[in-house]
């Protein structure tokens, strides 16, 4: 079940990254670029968590995952920022 949820999350994040990429190519709006990066970082974060990379690289990645989370949220705020 956990694997299925992770897979769905990854697919949705990738789909949203794809949509943001198409929107960026069409409009060159900075907000779409921030969203694209945010969704890709979300994919990265989920992949790190799901693949248990912490055990593989023998290091605690909780800080890295935390930083990624903050970055994703910051990028969302930047995308919504009214220029």
């Amino acid at each position: 079940m956990e694997t299925l949820l992770t897979l769905v999350t990854l697919l949705l994040a990738l789909a949203l990254a794809g949509i943001s990429y198409i929107a960026y190519r069409k409009s060159h709006l900075r907000a779409t670029l921030y969203l694209l990066i945010a969704f890709l970082l979300l994919v990265m974060k989920k992949a790190i968590e799901a693949l248990h990379l912490a055990a593989w690289i023998e290091r605690d990645v909780s800080i890295a995952v935390g930083v990624l989370e903050i970055l994703v949220l910051l990028l969302f705020i930047m995308a919504l920022w009214k220029r």
Binding site: I19, I22, A23, K26, S27, L29, T32, A79, K82
Partner: protein
């Protein structure tokens, strides 16, 4: 016979820039394979070129490269296509466009800015409002828009653009 056919195809493309492969085959009553062959030859001779956008391939005569680029960017989002079709009825102000299409003012403002930059639409200031007029051949715009078939991903991307450009609207 082959040469005559090719000239007929070229003439149709020159008279109808932005015609699609399917429409060209239908209008001239040519088989797909035959048309593919003649278009291949015409492209090789540098007399025509084609661009794929959405699910369709548009064919243009040589010398139309700059115009084609501008045109295809102009019609690349659903909202711009709706605005262009509306402007075919006559000049309109930004608020009139927003009202008639049910869009927010910032969204219309963003798209009008892009269309003016592309040289597809003219903006004329009249008092406090700006009136927009088509500055490009409406027949070509209508032909290209009529055949445009966006994918689901493109539709979602268009919605995202409108959502982001429409932020801050007070209505």
């Amino acid at each position: 016979m082959g040469m005559e056919r090719r000239n007929e195809i070229l003439e149709t493309i020159m008279n109808k820039p932005g015609i699609t492969f399917r429409e060209l085959a239908r209008q001239l009553g040519i088989g797909i394979g035959d048309l593919q062959y003649h278009l291949y030859r015409l492209e090789k001779e540098g007399k025509v070129f084609s661009r794929k956008i959405g699910k369709r391939r548009y064919i243009f005569p040589a010398g139309f490269e700059g115009d084609c680029q501008r045109l295809l960017i102009a019609i690349s989002t659903e909202t711009r296509r709706r605005i262009l079709l509306l402007l075919m009825e006559g000049p309109l102000t930004q608020s009139e466009i927003a009202k008639r299409l049910g869009l927010s003012q910032p969204t219309v403002s963003y798209h009008m800015g892009e269309l003016v930059k592309l040289g597809i639409v003219d903006a004329r200031k009249e008092g406090k409002s700006v009136t927009y007029t088509l500055s490009y051949d409406p027949r070509i715009i209508a032909r290209v828009i009529r055949e445009y078939r966006p994918s689901l991903w493109e539709k979602l991307a268009d919605n995202l653009i409108d959502m982001l450009t429409g932020m801050g609207d007070e209505e």
